[in-house]
Subunit: 87 residues, 2 copies
């Protein structure tokens, strides 16, 4: 499954969230990471993030694309992520 | 088509980008908006945003879901957007 992660967390926790998320996904732009995950790695990612965020204040949103074929991505402006997007 | 917009723009331009984006989409969390658009309104949104961002510095990413059926959304933490998500 292809996962798009978008986070909106307290600045004090951004570094921790980013460090965890980058183990599994590649950085696309501020507060956005993407990548192909198995069910197991997706569970691990959610578990690890759950340990560091404040669930009453922070928000981490996952869009899980069952089938990438139906999703296209368009960019306006500069491409920030270093990694090539694997579409 | 269902569109997820994620912006990473200079703080000086966030208010303008948000004002435009909110005309077409509903706010989900910081730097993320979503909503159902026609081709025409999607073109208008991109055109208007193109007038206010600095394409050499800012980045606005659109994920266009041709078919929402293949996409699920999961939230970790607090739900920030006010509008109910129309899935």
């Amino acid at each position: 499954m292809y996962v798009i992660l978008v986070y909106d967390v307290n600045v004090a926790r951004v570094a921790k969230v980013l460090k965890i998320a980058r183990k599994y996904l590649h950085w696309v732009q501020n507060s956005v990471l993407e990548g192909e995950l198995t069910e197991a790695t997706f569970r691990k990612l959610k578990h690890e993030l759950g340990q560091v965020i404040d669930v009453k204040e922070d928000s981490v949103l996952f869009y899980v694309l069952g089938n990438q074929r139906y999703t296209t991505r368009e960019l306006l402006g500069v491409k920030k992520g270093g990694e090539e997007w694997i579409w």
